[in-house]
């Protein structure tokens, strides 16, 4: 069966009262953007609680579905047969043709589920189901009705046109990116932060990112790894403005003047400050990190509190209560895991103390930080001025192995 259209059902958008159009428009826009590289002529239009996506004459079906499965806000993707003439006779015949084309002579149990958004339609819903069922039974010896637990539910939706479908491909859920503001993700080369970016985007948040580079202690390959990660999650989040901050001098200043066991925590406070600076500049309203309680020394409750103390913006930590394995599972699903485990050191590990503080006290850390006064301000300024921003967009190469 060659489909020329999809009926796209969305998840929570449906309940958003008067703002619903914002979400629907965002979803239509994301669908258009994400399909533009597959073929010209996709058209996504709102249609009474659904989005109707019509496809050009020639397009790659698998690739289109794969792409749609990455668009947050989509709850289900239904490849549909469009029946322009919705008089009941032609509707039943066309439904029969659909069933023949899709199921051939396979023995199946079925049920017709009809829906009439056009209430002026002369036949009422239960009657449509009954008559349609009867027609199909007469026409195909291989069909049997099972109203409780059918193998196939044949959906017939009567709108301006009529739509018939029986396959419902699950989408990722969530909300369309762009519908819920923008946030700045602190992206490292690790496993957690890309997953955090993915998860926040799933709630409709546009994501920008900041990475702290410490050449020559961290290599160009470590940076490339982060760009690769950003590229993978950008398939879900849309284009990411990746801020590459040279952190070396700040880090060395801290090493030189502060106790080594406080290095990581003080570094993280500077990273948060810098991230917040860039967030404000880009119009982001929050920071996002991949932290999870207790995972490492800098992520104990006390450390998180001390790190958090430098931020004015809310800091979102979508993985805060996740076990490592749960995070790994998601990273494998979205395809970041194999990149995250490439063995390039990032600036957090390179000078790490053997026994970093795990229960830092804010006043102690602040006292240590005062030793940086007079030198660090200029270094922070320099880091801000020398930031490199690159626009990371997802690869347009179709990787079939990534289809779930």
């Amino acid at each position: 069966m060659t489909y020329r259209a999809f009926l796209i059902k969305y998840s929570e958008i449906g309940i958003k009262g008067k703002n619903r159009y914002i979400f629907e428009d965002a979803l239509c826009a994301r669908i258009r953007e994400n399909l533009a590289h597959i073929a010209d002529g996709f058209e996504a239009i709102k249609e009474q609680g659904r989005i109707f996506l019509s496809c050009p004459e020639e397009y790659d079906y698998d690739r289109t579905v794969s792409q749609l499965k990455k668009i947050f806000g989509i709850w289900a993707i239904c490849p549909v047969k469009v029946i322009p003439d919705n008089s009941f006779d032609s509707l039943t015949k066309a439904t029969g043709d659909y069933v023949e084309e899709v199921y051939g002579d396979r023995e199946i149990t079925f049920k017709v589920e009809a829906r009439r958004s056009d209430k002026r339609y002369p036949i009422e819903t239960p009657q449509i189901c009954a008559d349609m069922g009867e027609y199909l039974l007469k026409r195909f010896a291989n069909l049997k009705v099972d109203v409780r637990n059918p193998q196939v539910r044949i959906h017939v939706e009567i709108r301006n046109n009529a739509y018939v479908y029986s396959e419902i491909i699950p989408g990722p859920g969530g909300m369309p990116v762009g519908a819920n503001g923008k946030a700045m993700l602190l992206l490292s080369g690790g496993i957690d932060s890309p997953v955090a970016g993915y998860m926040i985007a799933k709630r409709g948040v546009t994501v920008d990112a900041v990475y702290f580079h410490a050449p020559p202690y961290t290599s160009e390959r470590a940076l490339q790894k982060v760009i690769d990660l950003a590229q993978i999650i950008s398939a879900y989040t849309g284009p990411i403005k990746l801020h590459i901050v040279n952190f070396t001098d700040i880090q060395l200043d801290i090493i030189e003047k502060c106790p080594r066991d406080e290095l990581t925590i003080i570094m993280r406070r500077y990273m948060m400050r810098l991230a917040e600076h860039f967030a404000k500049k880009c119009g982001s309203l929050a920071l996002v990190t991949g932290e999870s309680i207790g995972q490492v020394a800098s992520q104990t409750m006390q450390s998180l509190a001390v790190t958090n103390a430098v931020c004015e913006m809310p800091v979102f930590r979508p993985l805060i209560a996740f076990d490592k394995q749960d995070i790994i599972d998601i990273s494998e699903k979205i395809g970041t895991y194999e990149i995250s485990i490439e063995p390039y050191e990032d600036c957090c590990t390179i000078f790490v103390a053997k026994h970093p503080v795990t229960k830092p006290l804010l006043h102690v850390i602040e006292k240590s930080e005062r030793k940086l006064e007079g030198s660090v301000e200029a270094l922070v300024e320099k880091a801000i001025e020398s930031v490199r921003i690159i626009n990371v967009t997802s690869s347009k190469i179709y990787d079939k192995s990534r289809d779930e």
Partner: protein
């Protein structure tokens, strides 16, 4: 201007080689096995290349088997010769600091019922011949010793080792990994007593994916790659004509320039190692010292002209490498070692380099085009950055 001192990893392809490869891709693009003229033209390229390449080592054209490079040559030599000799015995010996493309095939031979032993190496990076000879048993079928060590540039006396090995048992197949030696030395495997010799093209400014295995007439090697029977059944697959053409062109250039260039490189190396030696906390590996601790021309000449290995006390190799890179100087770390990547160089360990220098060693490797100015600049940069990068270390 970039200063590329990682020529033992790979070299920039020379103009002549690029032209020859280009010609074989764009003009004489035929398949040498095709019966028409296009095929004949390609076959001619291979014949001509083989004449140059076999000539460069004083071998017969029929003794050259083209491969995809050093790794394949080593695999073919070791696995192929061991399997072909299996009826005679099941014991193989190699030196304890061979390249991974020798070491790992030998380890894999265990699956075929072979036992592999590795002979120890001394501080100067030479295989301990006496101990090697003691390892030889009646069932020993294969001995592999590298010509020039790729990490520290030490040179084994292949003629003496091969002779001693064959004296114990003339049937033992003697393999030599000459990847770092080819082009820099005039090598005649026949005179040296080598039965199998591996060579790679991209170390001498030829294209990547080129290389050969010298197989002395009469030595049996079981093919690793089976197919259409090219290269007299020894290595099937359409010959990589562009790579072979480029490789031959590069060989020609090296043969033309070698005498003069190697002389010059030894002078540069002497200058460079003495400059390094004079820097506090820098230790040059595997070159004999004079009583006063310096290096002499005769000491340096016992090593390969193009490789220098030195440890930088208190620094981390990878960090230094990236710091040099910031000044446009490209070198390699003697070992790839980091918290996530615990693969300390077997060579450095084998030659007894101090533990704290294992992860602090850089390799500088020259090409025939390396200049004194480049090395002066490198020394200058090292002097400048070393204090910075020994100040901040892991705790």
């Amino acid at each position: 201007m970039d200063i590329y001192l990682d020529n033992a990893a790979t070299t920039k392809v020379c103009e002549e080689a690029a032209q020859a490869a280009m010609n074989a891709m764009m003009t004489d693009y035929g398949n040498p096995s095709s019966k028409h003229t296009r095929g004949l033209d390609a076959e001619k390229i291979i014949k001509n290349a083989t004449r140059i390449i076999s000539g460069s080592i004083g071998a017969k054209p029929s003794e050259i088997v083209y491969t995809s490079g050093g790794t394949e040559s080593n695999n073919m030599a070791l696995i192929g010769a061991a399997l072909a000799a299996k009826r005679r015995g099941d014991h193989v010996i190699a030196s304890g600091y061979e390249h991974a493309s020798v070491y790992n095939p030998l380890i894999s031979l265990k699956d075929f019922g072979f036992e592999t032993e590795f002979a120890p190496v001394d501080e100067m990076g030479h295989i301990k011949t006496d101990e090697l000879l003691e390892m030889i048993r009646p069932t020993t079928v294969l001995v592999s010793v590298m010509y020039v060590n790729n990490e520290v540039g030490s040179v084994n006396d292949i003629a003496a080792i091969a002779e001693a090995v064959h004296k114990k048992n003339k049937d033992i197949i003697f393999h030599c990994d000459a990847v770092q030696a080819y082009g820099k030395y005039s090598i005649s495997p026949e005179k040296l007593g080598i039965d199998l010799m591996s060579v790679s093209g991209h170390k001498i400014r030829g294209p990547k994916g080129s290389g050969f295995l010298y197989v002395r007439e009469g030595v049996r090697v079981r093919p690793l790659i089976w197919g259409g029977g090219q290269q007299k059944d020894r290595r099937s697959g359409t010959e990589n004509v562009p790579a072979i053409a480029g490789f031959a062109a590069a060989t020609e250039q090296y043969d033309l320039k070698r005498r003069e260039a190697v002389e010059r490189l030894y002078e540069l190396k002497l200058f460079f190692v003495n400059e390094l030696n004079a820097i506090e906390g820098v230790y040059v590996h595997a070159i004999e010292r004079e009583p006063d601790g310096s290096f002499s021309a005769s000491g340096v000449r016992k090593t390969a002209p193009h490789i220098v290995s030195a440890g930088f006390e208190g620094a981390r190799a990878e960090v230094l490498l990236h710091a040099l890179e910031e000044s446009g100087i490209y070198v390699s770390s003697g070992s790839a070692c980091s918290a996530n990547h615990p693969g300390i160089s077997s060579t450095l360990k084998a030659i007894g380099v101090k533990k704290d220098l294992l992860d602090a060693t850089l390799r500088f490797s020259f090409s025939f085009e390396t200049t004194r100015e480049e090395l002066e600049k490198t020394i200058e940069v090292i002097k400048k950055i070393l204090p910075v990068y020994t100040r901040f270390t892991r705790k």
